[in-house]
Amino acid sequence: MDPYYLALTTINLAAIYGLLALGISIIWSSLGMINMAQGFTFAVSGYGAWLVAQHISTNGLAVVAGGVITGALAGALIGGIAFIPLYDKPNFPLRSLIATLAISLMGGQCLLWIFTPRVKALPKIFGIGNVHFGPVVASYDKIGSIVCSAILLLVTLAWMKSSRRGLEIRAMMQNPEGAALVGVGLRSTAMAVMMVTGAMAGLAAVLLSQNYFISPTAGVTPLVKGMVVALAGGLGSVAGALIAAILIGFIEAVTAVGLGGQYVLITQFLFIIAVLLVRPRGIAGMIEHTRE
């Protein structure tokens, strides 16, 4: 087993799952909603990127932009249907869970109807080839997706740290009533959250589609893994989601190399169960204050 290959695969998977998990985690802690439609956002973004590649340009930047913008729009759509009309009604967490699940199922059917079940492939936006750093051999794919997700993660975190809107989102994650008392509008902030997390899922979709095909149900596995990473990390914790993403990515890489790809979900879930037995609130659930 080549340790460098293992490390690179781990980081690559961690970056992609991190994008999804962070989105799920931020939505849960700021909006109080488990977004089951994050997988739908993922699948739609893949098609958005594919349409750009078919009709506009196969330029890497254009394809990425197509995926990211489609993701943001899908996020806005989910927010408009599942959050805005429901958030001040009784039993919101359950209602929004069902609403997002419904969007996910209906959206999947719509994709099947429009694009047919035949799978699509994105162009290799990073090109084909390998880079050699001493003993390490890295494919363009991996380097490209690690760099892209690192850039989006850093930009998002810096934006959350330094802008007024980012401060509003962080405030809402900690205390929605306190946020209202400093003039934070729940609806507009929620839509901002949905669009940013949608864009993250969109980028993850483009990056993952470098190795997997785009299909109407392509969002299911990433949703499950994103959810699992978010839970293991401690919902609402940015640091936790990133740590969990690295651990889950590592387990996937080790399992795939050592045992075979078909065992990946089994080892990942065993790991999650073990984590939640020891730390019911997730890895960083106790470190950072999360929404009660």
Partner: protein, 241 residues
């Protein structure tokens, strides 16, 4: 001149529970008003109703002459951010802080208008002059501060924008007597200009002689002094119709 706050026939509560019963209150520019009452008689509910945070409410509430009340049967907090942006600052019981965020983040969060956000550095200096102990704590997460320090953060956050009406719920609650006294003194040092301040408090002796008016709140009704002095009720009513 319009009153900063004018409440008429306000009733409010939570679910089947009615807490305030047809309350009227006028606060004029430049006034500091103390509302004195025991636990459970409706002080917090009165302040929360002004911010639109009660379970339900009915009756008129005017902030600088603009209606912010009305009848609402659900959705607590739905309009709170709009009322805040019209010039209200509420420092509630329990402080409504963001435990993982730093003191500096809290002060920044209080600067919600574009202008205040641009000037947040200068404004921070200004509030730190009122609450000097916060200077050293700027980088600390609020969850690690003491009760008195948290109260200061909550008050300082409310002062970062140009609020016309400051509502302060039980500044002394849970604090040592010496610290509460210091906090009340800091509150009296705040320059309210053409705005006004309403302090709800259980401890009469803390406010006595320091505020413009003291009003009692008993069983959801205000007792005495609820209308600004040297202005008979009929005249204030006439003034607005």
């Amino acid at each position: 001149m319009t009153d900063v706050l004018r409440i008429e026939d306000l009733s409010a509560g939570y679910g089947p529970l009615g807490v305030l019963h047809s309350v009227g209150l006028t606060v004029r520019a430049g006034e500091r008003v103390g509302i004195i009452g025991l636990n459970g008689h409706g002080k917090s509910t009165l302040l929360k109703a002004i911010a639109g945070l009660t379970g339900w409410q009915s009756g008129s509430i005017k902030l600088n002459g603009i209606e912010i009340g009305g009848t609402r049967s659900q959705g607590p907090g739905r309009y709170t951010h709009k009322i805040v942006r019209m010039g209200l600052a509420l420092m509630p019981q329990g402080d409504a802080l963001f435990h993982g965020l730093t003191v500096a983040d809290h002060l920044d969060s209080g600067a919600y208008t574009r202008r205040a956000w641009r000037e947040r550095k200068q404004r921070r200096e200004h509030v730190l002059a009122i609450f000097p102990p916060l200077e050293k704590l700027l980088g600390q997460p609020v969850g690690k501060l003491s009760g008195g320090e948290r109260r200061m953060v909550s008050l300082a956050r409310g002062l970062m924008d140009d609020a016309k009406l400051l509502l302060i719920d039980e500044p002394s609650l849970g604090l040592a007597p010496k610290i509460s006294k210091g906090l009340i003194e800091a509150l009296m040092r705040i320059d309210i200009k053409d705005g006004a301040m309403v302090i709800a408090e259980q401890n009469l002796s803390l406010l006595e002689g320091k505020v413009s008016r003291l009003i009692g709140l008993h069983a959801g009704k205000l007792k005495g002094g609820a209308v600004a002095p040297d202005m008979p009720l009929s005249e204030t009513t006439h003034h607005h119709h």
